[in-house]
Protein backbone atom coordinates (compact mmCIF):
# COMPACT_ATOMS: atom_id res chain seq x y z
CA UNK A 1 0.00 0.00 0.00
CA UNK A 2 1.21 3.50 -0.80
CA UNK A 3 2.40 5.07 2.44
CA UNK A 4 1.58 8.60 1.31
CA UNK A 5 -1.94 9.87 1.97
CA UNK A 6 -1.58 13.34 0.46
CA UNK A 7 0.97 14.78 -1.91
CA UNK A 8 0.70 18.35 -3.17
CA UNK A 9 3.13 20.15 -5.45
CA UNK A 10 2.96 23.85 -6.30
CA UNK A 11 -0.80 24.13 -5.77
CA UNK A 12 -2.33 27.40 -6.93
CA UNK A 13 -5.81 28.87 -6.93
CA UNK A 14 -6.90 32.45 -7.57
CA UNK A 15 -10.22 34.22 -7.28
CA UNK A 16 -10.00 37.18 -9.62
CA UNK A 17 -6.84 39.00 -8.60
CA UNK A 18 -6.66 37.35 -5.16
CA UNK A 19 -4.16 34.52 -4.92
CA UNK A 20 -5.92 32.37 -2.34
CA UNK A 21 -3.39 29.58 -2.71
CA UNK A 22 -0.03 30.73 -4.07
CA UNK A 23 2.18 27.68 -4.41
CA UNK A 24 1.66 25.13 -1.65
CA UNK A 25 3.77 21.97 -1.30
CA UNK A 26 2.83 19.24 1.16
CA UNK A 27 3.30 15.57 1.88
CA UNK A 28 1.24 13.79 4.50
CA UNK A 29 2.09 10.18 5.32
CA UNK A 30 -0.67 7.72 6.16
CA UNK A 31 -1.72 7.53 9.77
CA UNK A 32 -0.66 11.07 10.59
CA UNK A 33 -2.75 13.73 12.29
CA UNK A 34 -1.95 16.73 10.18
CA UNK A 35 -3.19 20.14 11.23
CA UNK A 36 -3.70 23.31 9.22
CA UNK A 37 -3.43 26.55 11.16
CA UNK A 38 -3.87 30.02 9.78
CA UNK A 39 -5.93 33.19 9.93
CA UNK A 40 -9.27 33.46 8.12
CA UNK A 41 -8.74 34.01 4.43
CA UNK A 42 -5.22 32.57 4.55
CA UNK A 43 -5.99 29.92 1.98
CA UNK A 44 -6.24 26.91 4.27
CA UNK A 45 -9.94 26.25 3.60
CA UNK A 46 -9.40 26.58 -0.14
CA UNK A 47 -6.48 24.15 0.07
CA UNK A 48 -8.48 21.65 2.07
CA UNK A 49 -11.49 21.93 -0.24
CA UNK A 50 -9.26 21.18 -3.22
CA UNK A 51 -7.96 18.10 -1.39
CA UNK A 52 -11.56 17.04 -0.71
CA UNK A 53 -12.41 17.29 -4.39
CA UNK A 54 -14.92 20.05 -3.76
CA UNK A 55 -13.05 22.85 -5.49
CA UNK A 56 -10.99 22.91 -8.67
CA UNK A 57 -7.42 24.11 -8.69
CA UNK A 58 -5.80 26.42 -11.22
CA UNK A 59 -2.51 24.53 -11.35
CA UNK A 60 -0.22 22.16 -9.51
CA UNK A 61 -0.42 18.43 -8.89
CA UNK A 62 -2.51 16.88 -6.13
CA UNK A 63 -2.66 13.21 -5.15
CA UNK A 64 -4.99 12.16 -2.36
CA UNK A 65 -4.99 8.43 -1.59
CA UNK A 66 -3.24 7.99 -4.92
CA UNK A 67 -5.85 9.81 -7.01
CA UNK A 68 -6.48 13.29 -8.32
CA UNK A 69 -9.41 14.63 -6.26
CA UNK A 70 -10.49 16.79 -9.20
CA UNK A 71 -11.34 13.65 -11.20
CA UNK A 72 -11.83 10.97 -8.59
CA UNK A 73 -15.14 9.14 -8.54
CA UNK A 74 -17.43 7.37 -6.09
CA UNK A 75 -14.92 4.70 -5.16
CA UNK A 76 -12.47 7.37 -4.01
CA UNK A 77 -15.19 9.28 -2.15
CA UNK A 78 -16.02 6.10 -0.27
CA UNK A 79 -12.46 6.14 1.11
CA UNK A 80 -12.56 9.67 2.51
CA UNK A 81 -14.72 11.32 5.14
CA UNK A 82 -15.51 15.03 5.32
CA UNK A 83 -16.74 17.11 8.22
CA UNK A 84 -17.53 20.51 6.75
CA UNK A 85 -16.84 23.73 8.53
CA UNK A 86 -20.22 25.32 8.00
CA UNK A 87 -23.35 24.07 9.60
CA UNK A 88 -24.85 21.65 7.15
CA UNK A 89 -28.48 20.65 7.26
CA UNK A 90 -29.59 17.04 7.38
CA UNK A 91 -32.93 15.38 6.66
CA UNK A 92 -35.22 15.58 9.66
CA UNK A 93 -35.03 12.01 10.90
CA UNK A 94 -33.75 10.79 14.29
CA UNK A 95 -29.99 10.67 14.82
CA UNK A 96 -29.76 6.87 14.81
CA UNK A 97 -31.77 6.56 11.57
CA UNK A 98 -29.78 9.30 9.90
CA UNK A 99 -26.44 7.68 10.72
CA UNK A 100 -27.84 4.34 9.54
CA UNK A 101 -29.02 5.95 6.30
CA UNK A 102 -25.60 7.47 5.59
CA UNK A 103 -23.96 4.12 6.40
CA UNK A 104 -25.86 2.76 3.39
CA UNK A 105 -23.85 5.01 1.05
CA UNK A 106 -20.61 3.15 1.77
CA UNK A 107 -19.35 -0.27 0.74
CA UNK A 108 -17.95 -1.13 4.15
CA UNK A 109 -19.39 1.15 6.85
CA UNK A 110 -18.88 1.09 10.59
CA UNK A 111 -21.68 -0.09 12.86
CA UNK A 112 -24.07 2.90 13.11
CA UNK A 113 -24.99 2.33 16.76
CA UNK A 114 -21.34 2.05 17.70
CA UNK A 115 -20.53 5.30 15.88
CA UNK A 116 -23.38 7.12 17.60
CA UNK A 117 -22.01 5.82 20.89
CA UNK A 118 -18.44 6.80 20.09
CA UNK A 119 -19.29 10.42 19.29
CA UNK A 120 -21.22 10.61 22.55
CA UNK A 121 -24.74 10.84 21.13
CA UNK A 122 -26.10 7.55 22.50
CA UNK A 123 -28.53 9.40 24.74
CA UNK A 124 -29.73 11.47 21.80
CA UNK A 125 -30.00 8.58 19.34
CA UNK A 126 -33.78 8.95 19.12
CA UNK A 127 -33.76 12.77 18.89
CA UNK A 128 -34.26 14.83 15.75
CA UNK A 129 -31.22 16.80 14.55
CA UNK A 130 -32.97 20.15 15.08
CA UNK A 131 -33.32 19.67 18.85
CA UNK A 132 -29.60 19.00 19.31
CA UNK A 133 -27.34 21.67 20.80
CA UNK A 134 -24.62 23.19 18.62
CA UNK A 135 -21.95 20.90 20.03
CA UNK A 136 -24.16 17.83 19.68
CA UNK A 137 -24.93 18.71 16.08
CA UNK A 138 -21.21 18.97 15.44
CA UNK A 139 -20.76 15.51 16.87
CA UNK A 140 -23.47 14.28 14.52
CA UNK A 141 -21.44 15.81 11.67
CA UNK A 142 -18.43 13.86 12.88
CA UNK A 143 -20.50 10.67 13.09
CA UNK A 144 -21.60 11.13 9.46
CA UNK A 145 -18.00 11.88 8.45
CA UNK A 146 -16.61 8.69 10.00
CA UNK A 147 -19.47 6.27 9.28
CA UNK A 148 -17.84 5.04 6.05
CA UNK A 149 -14.66 4.01 7.92
CA UNK A 150 -12.60 6.47 5.88
CA UNK A 151 -8.88 5.99 5.31
CA UNK A 152 -8.60 9.77 5.37
CA UNK A 153 -10.82 12.07 7.41
CA UNK A 154 -11.03 15.82 6.87
CA UNK A 155 -12.15 17.80 9.91
CA UNK A 156 -12.75 21.49 9.31
CA UNK A 157 -12.93 23.33 12.64
CA UNK A 158 -14.72 20.40 14.23
CA UNK A 159 -14.86 21.58 17.83
CA UNK A 160 -16.34 25.05 17.35
CA UNK A 161 -19.05 25.45 19.96
CA UNK A 162 -17.77 22.66 22.21
CA UNK A 163 -17.37 23.16 25.94
CA UNK A 164 -13.92 22.22 27.29
CA UNK A 165 -14.99 18.78 28.45
CA UNK A 166 -16.66 17.92 25.15
CA UNK A 167 -13.54 19.09 23.36
CA UNK A 168 -11.38 16.75 25.40
CA UNK A 169 -13.72 13.83 24.71
CA UNK A 170 -13.55 14.71 21.05
CA UNK A 171 -9.76 14.74 21.10
CA UNK A 172 -9.85 11.24 22.55
CA UNK A 173 -12.05 10.13 19.67
CA UNK A 174 -9.69 11.62 17.09
CA UNK A 175 -6.67 9.95 18.72
CA UNK A 176 -8.64 6.75 18.70
CA UNK A 177 -9.35 7.01 14.97
CA UNK A 178 -5.72 7.87 14.25
CA UNK A 179 -4.67 4.92 16.39
CA UNK A 180 -6.80 2.76 14.11
CA UNK A 181 -4.79 3.92 11.10
CA UNK A 182 -7.02 6.75 9.84
CA UNK A 183 -5.16 9.73 8.45
CA UNK A 184 -6.63 12.95 9.84
CA UNK A 185 -6.47 16.40 8.29
CA UNK A 186 -7.57 18.86 10.94
CA UNK A 187 -8.21 22.53 10.27
CA UNK A 188 -8.56 24.49 13.46
CA UNK A 189 -8.42 27.92 15.04
CA UNK A 190 -7.56 26.50 18.42
CA UNK A 191 -3.81 26.32 18.92
CA UNK A 192 -4.13 24.10 21.96
CA UNK A 193 -6.12 21.70 19.82
CA UNK A 194 -3.37 21.50 17.22
CA UNK A 195 -0.81 21.11 19.99
CA UNK A 196 -2.78 18.35 21.72
CA UNK A 197 -3.58 16.34 18.61
CA UNK A 198 -1.33 17.02 15.67
CA UNK A 199 1.76 15.07 14.72
CA UNK A 200 2.63 17.98 12.47
CA UNK A 201 1.31 21.50 12.14
CA UNK A 202 1.22 23.46 8.91
CA UNK A 203 0.88 27.22 9.27
CA UNK A 204 -0.68 28.76 6.17
CA UNK A 205 -0.83 32.50 5.59
CA UNK A 206 -1.13 34.57 2.46
CA UNK A 207 -1.71 31.41 0.44
CA UNK A 208 1.67 29.91 1.34
CA UNK A 209 3.07 27.45 3.85
CA UNK A 210 4.86 29.56 6.47
CA UNK A 211 6.02 26.69 8.65
CA UNK A 212 5.56 22.94 8.76
CA UNK A 213 6.82 20.98 11.74
CA UNK A 214 5.87 19.12 14.89
CA UNK A 215 4.10 21.36 17.43
CA UNK A 216 7.16 21.19 19.68
CA UNK A 217 9.58 22.30 16.98
CA UNK A 218 7.38 24.68 15.00
CA UNK A 219 9.12 27.91 14.04
CA UNK A 220 12.29 26.93 15.92
CA UNK A 221 10.30 26.74 19.14
CA UNK A 222 12.40 24.04 20.80
CA UNK A 223 15.60 25.94 20.14
CA UNK A 224 14.20 29.35 21.00
CA UNK A 225 15.68 31.27 23.93
CA UNK A 226 14.00 30.77 27.24
CA UNK A 227 13.27 33.57 29.67
CA UNK A 228 14.11 33.02 33.34
CA UNK A 229 12.31 35.36 35.77
CA UNK A 230 12.61 35.66 39.54
CA UNK A 231 12.43 38.19 42.38
CA UNK A 232 15.62 39.53 43.96
CA UNK A 233 16.88 42.78 45.53
CA UNK A 234 13.37 44.19 45.78
CA UNK A 235 12.52 43.92 42.06
CA UNK A 236 11.75 41.44 39.27
CA UNK A 237 14.80 40.07 37.46
CA UNK A 238 14.74 38.68 33.92
CA UNK A 239 17.33 36.92 31.75
CA UNK A 240 16.89 35.59 28.21
CA UNK A 241 19.13 32.59 27.77
CA UNK A 242 19.93 29.54 25.66
CA UNK A 243 20.89 27.61 28.80
CA UNK A 244 18.04 28.13 31.25
CA UNK A 245 19.06 25.18 33.43
CA UNK A 246 22.46 26.68 34.16
CA UNK A 247 20.91 30.10 34.79
CA UNK A 248 18.46 28.63 37.27
CA UNK A 249 21.34 26.81 39.00
CA UNK A 250 23.32 30.02 39.36
CA UNK A 251 20.35 31.96 40.68
CA UNK A 252 19.44 29.15 43.07
CA UNK A 253 22.94 29.16 44.58
CA UNK A 254 22.35 32.72 45.81
CA UNK A 255 19.26 31.72 47.78
CA UNK A 256 18.80 29.55 50.78
CA UNK A 257 15.97 27.30 49.55
CA UNK A 258 13.28 28.50 47.16
CA UNK A 259 13.93 31.21 44.56
CA UNK A 260 11.05 33.72 44.91
CA UNK A 261 8.65 33.85 41.93
CA UNK A 262 10.89 31.67 39.75
CA UNK A 263 9.58 30.91 36.24
CA UNK A 264 11.19 29.53 33.09
CA UNK A 265 9.23 30.53 30.04
CA UNK A 266 9.54 29.14 26.53
CA UNK A 267 7.51 30.64 23.69
CA UNK A 268 4.03 29.09 23.48
CA UNK A 269 2.72 27.74 20.23
CA UNK A 270 0.51 30.80 20.13
CA UNK A 271 3.45 33.21 20.35
CA UNK A 272 5.30 31.31 17.62
CA UNK A 273 2.17 31.23 15.48
CA UNK A 274 1.44 34.93 15.86
CA UNK A 275 5.05 35.66 14.92
CA UNK A 276 4.75 33.51 11.82
CA UNK A 277 1.59 35.09 10.49
CA UNK A 278 2.44 38.66 11.53
CA UNK A 279 4.22 39.51 8.26
CA UNK A 280 1.08 38.59 6.34
CA UNK A 281 -1.44 40.46 8.40
CA UNK A 282 -1.40 43.48 6.14
CA UNK A 283 -1.49 41.65 2.82
CA UNK A 284 -4.20 39.14 3.70
CA UNK A 285 -7.67 40.39 2.79
CA UNK A 286 -10.27 40.00 5.51
Amino acid sequence: MDETAIEVTDLRKSYGSTHAVAGVDLRVPRGEIFSFLGPNGAGKSTTVEILEGFRHRDSGTVRVLGEDPGRAGRRWRARIGVVWQKETMTPRVPVRDLVRHFAGYYPSPADPDEVVERVGLAEKAGALPDVLSGGQRRRLDVALGMIGRPELLFLDEPTTGFDPEARRDFWELIRDLAGGGTTIVLTTHYLEEAEALADRVCVVAGGRVRALDTPADLGGRAAARATVRWFEDGRRQEIATDTPTRTVGEVASRFDGEVPELTVHRPTLEEIYLGLIEDDRTEVPA
Binding site: I80, E87, P107, E151, G179
Partner: protein, 285 residues
Protein backbone atom coordinates in the same frame (compact mmCIF):
# COMPACT_ATOMS: atom_id res chain seq x y z
CA UNK B 1 2.33 9.53 15.49
CA UNK B 2 0.88 10.90 18.68
CA UNK B 3 1.18 9.29 22.07
CA UNK B 4 -0.08 5.78 21.33
CA UNK B 5 -3.57 5.18 22.57
CA UNK B 6 -4.82 1.77 23.49
CA UNK B 7 -8.16 0.87 22.10
CA UNK B 8 -9.39 -2.69 22.19
CA UNK B 9 -12.05 -2.24 19.49
CA UNK B 10 -9.59 -0.71 17.07
CA UNK B 11 -6.72 -2.73 15.62
CA UNK B 12 -3.67 -0.90 14.30
CA UNK B 13 -5.05 -0.79 10.77
CA UNK B 14 -8.57 -0.90 9.36
CA UNK B 15 -9.97 -4.40 8.98
CA UNK B 16 -8.25 -6.05 6.02
CA UNK B 17 -11.22 -7.63 4.28
CA UNK B 18 -13.20 -4.50 3.50
CA UNK B 19 -15.94 -4.90 0.97
CA UNK B 20 -15.35 -2.59 -1.98
CA UNK B 21 -18.67 -3.15 -3.68
CA UNK B 22 -20.47 0.18 -3.90
CA UNK B 23 -24.19 0.12 -3.13
CA UNK B 24 -26.48 0.28 -6.17
CA UNK B 25 -27.67 3.64 -7.47
CA UNK B 26 -31.33 2.70 -7.58
CA UNK B 27 -31.39 1.11 -4.14
CA UNK B 28 -29.73 4.23 -2.69
CA UNK B 29 -32.31 6.34 -4.50
CA UNK B 30 -35.14 4.45 -2.81
CA UNK B 31 -33.37 4.79 0.53
CA UNK B 32 -33.09 8.55 -0.06
CA UNK B 33 -36.77 8.64 -1.03
CA UNK B 34 -37.84 7.06 2.25
CA UNK B 35 -35.71 9.50 4.25
CA UNK B 36 -37.09 12.41 2.20
CA UNK B 37 -40.67 11.33 2.89
CA UNK B 38 -40.03 10.87 6.61
CA UNK B 39 -38.35 14.24 6.72
CA UNK B 40 -41.17 15.98 4.82
CA UNK B 41 -43.91 14.54 6.98
CA UNK B 42 -42.18 16.01 10.06
CA UNK B 43 -42.44 19.56 8.70
CA UNK B 44 -45.92 20.45 9.83
CA UNK B 45 -45.71 23.89 8.22
CA UNK B 46 -45.26 22.39 4.79
CA UNK B 47 -47.87 19.75 5.55
CA UNK B 48 -50.44 22.48 6.15
CA UNK B 49 -49.40 25.17 3.69
CA UNK B 50 -48.17 23.08 0.80
CA UNK B 51 -49.97 19.85 1.08
CA UNK B 52 -53.39 20.67 2.52
CA UNK B 53 -53.96 24.05 0.89
CA UNK B 54 -55.73 22.86 -2.29
CA UNK B 55 -58.02 20.61 -0.23
CA UNK B 56 -58.82 23.49 2.13
CA UNK B 57 -59.60 25.77 -0.81
CA UNK B 58 -61.82 23.09 -2.33
CA UNK B 59 -63.63 22.80 0.97
CA UNK B 60 -64.22 26.57 1.19
CA UNK B 61 -65.26 26.97 -2.44
CA UNK B 62 -67.61 24.01 -2.32
CA UNK B 63 -69.36 25.47 0.72
CA UNK B 64 -69.32 29.17 -0.23
CA UNK B 65 -70.19 28.84 -3.93
CA UNK B 66 -72.75 26.09 -3.44
CA UNK B 67 -75.83 26.79 -5.67
CA UNK B 68 -74.23 29.94 -7.10
CA UNK B 69 -73.47 28.32 -10.42
CA UNK B 70 -75.82 28.60 -13.39
CA UNK B 71 -73.98 26.05 -15.49
CA UNK B 72 -75.78 22.94 -14.32
CA UNK B 73 -72.71 21.90 -12.33
CA UNK B 74 -71.95 22.01 -8.63
CA UNK B 75 -69.12 24.19 -7.33
CA UNK B 76 -67.14 21.19 -6.14
CA UNK B 77 -67.31 19.54 -9.56
CA UNK B 78 -66.26 22.75 -11.24
CA UNK B 79 -63.23 23.45 -9.07
CA UNK B 80 -61.98 19.89 -8.52
CA UNK B 81 -59.82 19.39 -11.68
CA UNK B 82 -58.22 22.83 -11.42
CA UNK B 83 -57.40 22.35 -7.76
CA UNK B 84 -55.90 18.93 -8.50
CA UNK B 85 -53.68 20.63 -11.09
CA UNK B 86 -52.73 23.26 -8.53
CA UNK B 87 -52.04 20.58 -5.91
CA UNK B 88 -49.81 18.62 -8.28
CA UNK B 89 -47.83 21.73 -9.17
CA UNK B 90 -47.57 22.60 -5.50
CA UNK B 91 -46.08 19.24 -4.45
CA UNK B 92 -43.72 19.16 -7.42
CA UNK B 93 -42.72 22.69 -8.41
CA UNK B 94 -43.06 24.44 -5.07
CA UNK B 95 -41.87 21.58 -2.82
CA UNK B 96 -38.78 20.83 -4.91
CA UNK B 97 -37.98 24.44 -5.72
CA UNK B 98 -37.97 25.55 -2.09
CA UNK B 99 -36.46 22.37 -0.64
CA UNK B 100 -33.55 22.13 -3.08
CA UNK B 101 -32.72 25.84 -2.78
CA UNK B 102 -32.74 25.45 1.01
CA UNK B 103 -30.58 22.32 0.91
CA UNK B 104 -28.12 24.07 -1.37
CA UNK B 105 -27.98 27.21 0.80
CA UNK B 106 -27.67 25.36 4.10
CA UNK B 107 -25.08 22.84 3.01
CA UNK B 108 -27.24 19.73 2.64
CA UNK B 109 -26.11 19.25 -0.95
CA UNK B 110 -22.53 20.07 -0.02
CA UNK B 111 -22.58 17.34 2.58
CA UNK B 112 -23.78 14.83 -0.01
CA UNK B 113 -20.92 15.81 -2.31
CA UNK B 114 -18.54 14.60 0.37
CA UNK B 115 -20.06 11.12 0.27
CA UNK B 116 -20.08 8.44 -2.45
CA UNK B 117 -23.82 8.95 -3.03
CA UNK B 118 -24.34 9.11 -6.82
CA UNK B 119 -26.13 12.27 -7.99
CA UNK B 120 -28.67 10.07 -9.77
CA UNK B 121 -29.68 8.55 -6.41
CA UNK B 122 -30.38 12.01 -5.05
CA UNK B 123 -32.73 12.71 -7.97
CA UNK B 124 -34.39 9.30 -7.69
CA UNK B 125 -35.02 10.11 -4.03
CA UNK B 126 -36.66 13.41 -5.00
CA UNK B 127 -38.76 11.59 -7.61
CA UNK B 128 -39.98 9.11 -4.99
CA UNK B 129 -40.86 12.01 -2.68
CA UNK B 130 -42.78 13.90 -5.38
CA UNK B 131 -44.64 10.79 -6.55
CA UNK B 132 -45.63 10.01 -2.98
CA UNK B 133 -46.86 13.55 -2.40
CA UNK B 134 -48.62 13.71 -5.78
CA UNK B 135 -50.55 10.48 -5.22
CA UNK B 136 -51.37 11.65 -1.70
CA UNK B 137 -52.49 15.00 -3.03
CA UNK B 138 -54.90 13.46 -5.55
CA UNK B 139 -56.21 11.01 -2.95
CA UNK B 140 -56.82 13.82 -0.46
CA UNK B 141 -58.65 16.03 -2.97
CA UNK B 142 -60.76 13.19 -4.35
CA UNK B 143 -61.48 12.03 -0.82
CA UNK B 144 -62.69 15.45 0.32
CA UNK B 145 -64.71 15.94 -2.87
CA UNK B 146 -66.40 12.55 -2.82
CA UNK B 147 -66.92 12.05 0.90
CA UNK B 148 -68.16 15.55 1.77
CA UNK B 149 -69.74 16.76 -1.44
CA UNK B 150 -70.56 13.67 -3.49
CA UNK B 151 -68.55 15.00 -6.42
CA UNK B 152 -68.73 13.42 -9.87
CA UNK B 153 -65.66 11.33 -10.81
CA UNK B 154 -64.42 10.76 -14.36
CA UNK B 155 -66.78 8.39 -16.16
CA UNK B 156 -65.30 5.61 -18.22
CA UNK B 157 -61.83 4.21 -18.77
CA UNK B 158 -60.93 6.76 -21.41
CA UNK B 159 -61.41 9.65 -18.99
CA UNK B 160 -59.27 7.96 -16.36
CA UNK B 161 -56.52 7.38 -18.92
CA UNK B 162 -56.59 11.10 -19.73
CA UNK B 163 -56.33 11.94 -16.03
CA UNK B 164 -53.46 9.45 -15.74
CA UNK B 165 -51.21 10.82 -18.45
CA UNK B 166 -51.90 14.43 -17.55
CA UNK B 167 -50.98 13.54 -13.96
CA UNK B 168 -47.65 11.99 -14.98
CA UNK B 169 -46.60 14.51 -17.62
CA UNK B 170 -47.73 17.51 -15.59
CA UNK B 171 -46.05 16.38 -12.38
CA UNK B 172 -42.77 15.55 -14.12
CA UNK B 173 -42.76 18.87 -16.01
CA UNK B 174 -43.43 20.87 -12.83
CA UNK B 175 -40.87 18.90 -10.82
CA UNK B 176 -38.15 19.62 -13.37
CA UNK B 177 -39.23 23.24 -13.52
CA UNK B 178 -38.90 23.38 -9.73
CA UNK B 179 -35.37 21.95 -9.83
CA UNK B 180 -34.42 24.49 -12.47
CA UNK B 181 -36.01 27.37 -10.52
CA UNK B 182 -34.19 26.35 -7.32
CA UNK B 183 -30.95 27.57 -8.91
CA UNK B 184 -32.43 31.06 -9.26
CA UNK B 185 -32.71 31.51 -5.50
CA UNK B 186 -29.46 32.61 -3.88
CA UNK B 187 -30.61 31.87 -0.36
CA UNK B 188 -33.20 29.76 1.38
CA UNK B 189 -35.21 32.87 2.24
CA UNK B 190 -35.19 34.06 -1.36
CA UNK B 191 -36.51 30.70 -2.50
CA UNK B 192 -39.98 31.40 -1.14
CA UNK B 193 -40.23 34.57 -3.21
CA UNK B 194 -38.65 33.13 -6.36
CA UNK B 195 -40.84 30.02 -6.27
CA UNK B 196 -44.09 30.96 -4.57
CA UNK B 197 -44.81 34.33 -6.21
CA UNK B 198 -44.68 33.04 -9.82
CA UNK B 199 -46.71 30.01 -8.77
CA UNK B 200 -49.36 32.23 -7.22
CA UNK B 201 -49.54 34.35 -10.39
CA UNK B 202 -49.96 31.21 -12.48
CA UNK B 203 -52.76 29.97 -10.26
CA UNK B 204 -54.79 33.09 -11.01
CA UNK B 205 -54.03 33.08 -14.73
CA UNK B 206 -54.29 29.38 -15.55
CA UNK B 207 -57.98 28.79 -14.98
CA UNK B 208 -57.77 27.43 -11.44
CA UNK B 209 -59.88 30.13 -9.76
CA UNK B 210 -61.00 32.22 -12.74
CA UNK B 211 -62.36 30.52 -15.90
CA UNK B 212 -59.84 30.80 -18.74
CA UNK B 213 -62.25 32.47 -21.23
CA UNK B 214 -62.69 35.32 -18.74
CA UNK B 215 -58.99 36.23 -18.95
CA UNK B 216 -57.72 39.02 -21.20
CA UNK B 217 -56.03 37.57 -24.25
CA UNK B 218 -52.51 38.71 -23.34
CA UNK B 219 -52.84 37.13 -19.88
CA UNK B 220 -54.00 33.90 -21.45
CA UNK B 221 -51.13 33.95 -23.94
CA UNK B 222 -48.66 34.46 -21.11
CA UNK B 223 -50.09 31.72 -18.92
CA UNK B 224 -50.25 29.34 -21.89
CA UNK B 225 -46.44 29.35 -21.95
CA UNK B 226 -46.42 27.49 -18.62
CA UNK B 227 -47.60 23.98 -17.76
CA UNK B 228 -50.27 24.74 -15.14
CA UNK B 229 -52.88 25.97 -17.64
CA UNK B 230 -52.48 22.82 -19.73
CA UNK B 231 -52.58 20.52 -16.72
CA UNK B 232 -55.85 22.10 -15.62
CA UNK B 233 -57.31 21.82 -19.10
CA UNK B 234 -56.26 18.17 -19.45
CA UNK B 235 -57.79 17.32 -16.09
CA UNK B 236 -61.02 19.11 -16.97
CA UNK B 237 -61.15 16.94 -20.09
CA UNK B 238 -60.97 13.90 -17.83
CA UNK B 239 -63.40 15.05 -15.15
CA UNK B 240 -65.98 17.19 -16.99
CA UNK B 241 -68.78 15.93 -19.21
CA UNK B 242 -67.91 16.31 -22.89
CA UNK B 243 -70.38 19.12 -23.54
CA UNK B 244 -68.36 21.35 -21.21
CA UNK B 245 -65.64 21.52 -23.88
CA UNK B 246 -67.64 24.38 -25.40
CA UNK B 247 -66.58 26.50 -22.43
CA UNK B 248 -62.88 26.19 -23.34
CA UNK B 249 -61.17 28.96 -25.29
CA UNK B 250 -61.04 27.00 -28.53
CA UNK B 251 -64.31 25.20 -27.93
CA UNK B 252 -62.64 21.79 -27.53
CA UNK B 253 -60.33 19.97 -25.08
CA UNK B 254 -57.34 20.12 -27.45
CA UNK B 255 -55.77 17.07 -25.81
CA UNK B 256 -52.95 16.72 -28.38
CA UNK B 257 -52.00 20.32 -27.63
CA UNK B 258 -52.07 19.57 -23.89
CA UNK B 259 -49.73 16.61 -24.41
CA UNK B 260 -47.44 18.67 -26.62
CA UNK B 261 -47.23 21.55 -24.14
CA UNK B 262 -46.56 19.30 -21.12
CA UNK B 263 -44.15 17.09 -23.07
CA UNK B 264 -42.22 20.13 -24.22
CA UNK B 265 -41.95 21.34 -20.64
CA UNK B 266 -40.57 17.97 -19.57
CA UNK B 267 -37.81 18.23 -22.18
CA UNK B 268 -37.11 21.92 -21.53
CA UNK B 269 -37.14 21.35 -17.76
CA UNK B 270 -34.70 18.44 -18.04
CA UNK B 271 -32.31 20.37 -20.26
CA UNK B 272 -32.39 23.49 -18.08
CA UNK B 273 -31.96 21.42 -14.90
CA UNK B 274 -28.98 19.53 -16.31
CA UNK B 275 -27.42 22.79 -17.44
CA UNK B 276 -28.00 24.81 -14.27
CA UNK B 277 -28.09 22.37 -11.37
CA UNK B 278 -25.39 23.19 -8.81
CA UNK B 279 -24.30 21.36 -5.69
CA UNK B 280 -22.75 24.52 -4.30
CA UNK B 281 -23.93 28.06 -3.77
CA UNK B 282 -22.36 30.89 -5.72
CA UNK B 283 -20.29 31.93 -2.72
CA UNK B 284 -18.72 28.48 -2.60
CA UNK B 285 -16.95 29.32 -5.86
Amino acid sequence: MNAPTTNPTNPARPAPERSTRLPGTFRLGLSRGIVEIRSFVREWESMIFTFSMPALILLFFAVIFDDMFDINMSAVDYYLPGLIAMGLMSVSFQTLGVAVATERDQGGLRRLRGTPLPPASYFIGKTVLVLFLAVGQVALLLGVAVLFFDAALPSGAESWVTVGWVFVLGTVACALLGLAASSLARTAQAASAVIIVPFLLLQFTSGIFVPVPALPEWVFNGAALFPLLWMAQGLRAGFFPDEMASMEVSGSWDLPLVALALGTWCVVGLVVTLATFRWKTRKDG
